[in-house]
């Protein structure tokens, strides 16, 4: 288990402020945040590249705060591979084992195994520059896992790859994690990687970790306006909140919404995820507690999905599939009905 305790580091342009985080054994932790949020500096401090200004890091009960990188049992994979260009793929993968003075036959065997697992065994004698981006990243991952690290750090490992390669390698990472039960911290700004990989996700902003939880918790129940905005919550309103029958009733510009969430204060922020709102030209016969009639303001066609903005006192954005959209035959100016459950209304 890794505990990061009140870790701070000021590098001028990038900072880490009092970051505290626990990663359990075998957990796949994804850290997500905007550019410049301090994601890379966190990983590099963990790897021991810079000494922290304050705070501690404890890995499997061992305080590694002042240990040099080579004694930490932490491996790192960068976005741009960082394969040593003067070494072959096999020499790259075996680099760490050679430093540990492992016997040559054992190195060869371990390299071959890792390469086979990542389907690059046919590339072992090539030099990195002759490989595609996806192949290079596989080699970099092999070089990291062959060390059998206690913790694997991935710094936007898929960001430099194109769509298809990225998806393939994402599956490989999942498979690698499942097969070896390796503990991973994976930094990204891509939401899809959160949903397909993360056991838990941490949101980082300006060097601070602002929320940690399962992907569902973080994306459905952001705990502050920054997270809500960052994870792309479209329907974000401010209103006043009152208790009513064990539920909360929020009033936003005269429109009342019922929520199962309970607020701490009277002034609250409210979000409803666009894909959790039902829309129909006919009144909706459903048990949803929040039902409104309104008018279609704007329709934005994104290909697979269609975003419909409905004015029902407040402007609600509703996300539907293109097929649903075509079936309903919606047009701007149409009268429509929208509905969503009390449990879909997040308050913070």
């Amino acid at each position: 288990m890794l505990s990061i305790e009140h870790l701070s580091k000021d590098m001028g342009e990038f900072v880490l402020k009092d970051a505290t985080l626990q990663v359990n054994d075998g957990e796949y932790m994804v850290i997500i945040g905007p550019t410049g949020a301090g994601k890379t500096i966190l990983l590099e401090t963990l790897a021991g590249i810079y000494p922290p200004d304050s705070g501690r890091m404890v890995l499997d009960g061992r305080d590694i705060t002042d240990a040099p990188p080579r004694e930490r049992r932490i491996s790192m994979v960068y976005q741009d591979y960082m394969l040593f260009p003067h070494l072959t793929v096999a020499e790259n993968i075996g680099f760490g084992l050679r430093n540990q003075k492992v016997a040559q036959p054992e190195i060869e065997q371990k390299v071959a195994e890792a390469a086979q697992f990542l389907s690059i065994d046919h590339l072992l004698h090539r030099y990195p520059e002759t490989l595609s981006g996806g192949e290079q990243q596989r080699a970099a991952i092999a070089r990291a896992v062959v060390m059998e690290p206690a913790l694997l750090l991935l710094d936007e490992p898929l960001s430099a790859l194109d769509g298809r390669t990225r998806e393939k390698l994402r599956r490989e990472l999942r498979r690698l994690h499942d097969a070896y039960g390796i503990t991973v911290i994976h930094v990204t700004h891509n939401f899809e990687e959160v949903f397909s990989l993360a056991d838990r996700v941490a949101v980082i902003r300006g060097g601070e970790i602002v929320q940690v939880g399962t992907p569902d918790e973080v994306f459905r129940k952001p705990n502050c306006e920054f997270v809500a905005n960052f994870v792309g919550v479209e329907n974000l309103f401010r209103g006043t909140c009152a208790r009513k029958e064990g539920l909360s009733e929020v009033t936003i510009e005269g429109v009342k919404m019922v929520s199962t969430a309970l607020a701490d204060s009277e002034m609250v922020c409210v979000t409803i995820r666009p894909e959790e709102i039902l829309i129909s030209p006919q009144p909706i016969g459903s048990c949803a507690r929040n039902q409104y009639s309104g008018m279609v303001q704007e329709i934005a066609d994104h290909g697979v999905t269609v975003r419909v903005t409905v004015d029902c006192g407040v402007s609600l954005v509703v996300l539907i599939t293109r097929q649903g959209y075509l079936e309903m035959g919606l047009a701007e100016g149409d009268a429509v009905f929208v509905a969503f459950k009390a449990s879909s209304v997040q308050i913070f």
């Binding site: 080579r70 491996s75 960068y78 040593f84 003067h86 680099f95 760490g96 430093n99």
Partner: protein
């Protein structure tokens, strides 16, 4: 009608004229003596000595430049430390300083200071000796090596070293196993240009080591001495050898260092 590109014609024209002018100048020197006269000059004892002394001193000064410049360049490329900007500017100083002035400064240092006198008593005499030639070459030329290595190290992401360290390397091992092998072409380019400049060094060596026939007579000094006393054949053959060396080194430099900056 497609218009001719006037700007291209003019600018390429200037570059082409310049090139042709340089080629003519070099050919003028090389073709000036008759081949027979050139051969007899080149095989003369004096030129043989100058070639020998030039090669020994320039190889020695290049090795010393590498030993000084590589660590300094690494420090300037990788670390932040107090006074880094000042160091960056001052180590470029010999680039802007006339070699003659550098030579006078070295002469004062080795001839008048306690350190210089101490070294002389210990047997390391730099004034008017071949050792002085080596020191003059080092002082005038290490900035080239340093600038090339600094820009080479800067072009290599420090993340290669970070990865190497997580894979079990110490700082020194990461430099030795990863960064230096990646810097090979910069080292070759810098070494060649430093060597060529060393062979051609005149002003600083003239001040510190003097121009003594058959003692501190490198090829440029030989050229100078023989021009002064009208031995045109000998002078031109020294110049010819220097041109051949320059052309060859420039070729190697452009090959390995085309992308690195001086």
């Amino acid at each position: 009608m497609r218009q001719p590109n006037l700007l291209k014609a003019v600018t390429v024209g200037v570059a082409a004229c310049l090139t042709i002018f340089i080629i003519i100048l070099l050919l003028l020197v090389v073709t000036h003596p008759s081949p027979a006269a050139l051969l007899s000059s080149i095989t003369s004892r004096e030129i043989q000595f100058a070639v020998y002394l030039s090669i020994v001193t320039s190889v020695a000064s290049t090795v010393i430049c590498i030993l000084i410049a590589v660590p300094s360049a690494y420090a300037l490329a990788r670390y932040d430390f107090f006074g880094k900007n000042a160091v960056n500017t001052i180590v470029d100083m010999p680039l802007a300083l006339p070699p003659l002035v550098a030579g006078v400064a070295l002469l004062l240092f080795f001839g008048t200071t306690p350190i210089g006198k101490g070294l002389a008593e210990a047997g390391l005499v730099f004034v008017f000796t071949p050792l002085g030639i080596v020191v003059a070459q080092v002082f005038v030329n290490f900035p080239f090596m340093l600038r090339i290595m600094r820009s080479t190290f800067e072009s290599i992401s420090p993340r290669y070293e970070y990865v190497a360290k997580t894979l079990g390397c110490t700082d020194v091992q990461a430099l030795w196993q990863v960064t230096l092998p990646m810097a090979t072409s910069g080292l070759i380019a810098g070494g060649v240009i430093t060597w060529a400049k060393g062979i051609g060094e005149f002003g600083a060596a003239l001040m510190l080591a003097g121009a003594t026939r058959m003692k501190t007579e490198t090829l440029p000094i030989s050229l100078f001495l023989n021009m002064s006393c009208g031995e045109l054949e000998l002078a031109i053959s020294a110049a010819t050898i220097l041109i051949v060396i320059s052309v060859a080194s420039l070729y190697v430099f452009e090959r390995y260092g085309g992308s690195t900056s001086l």
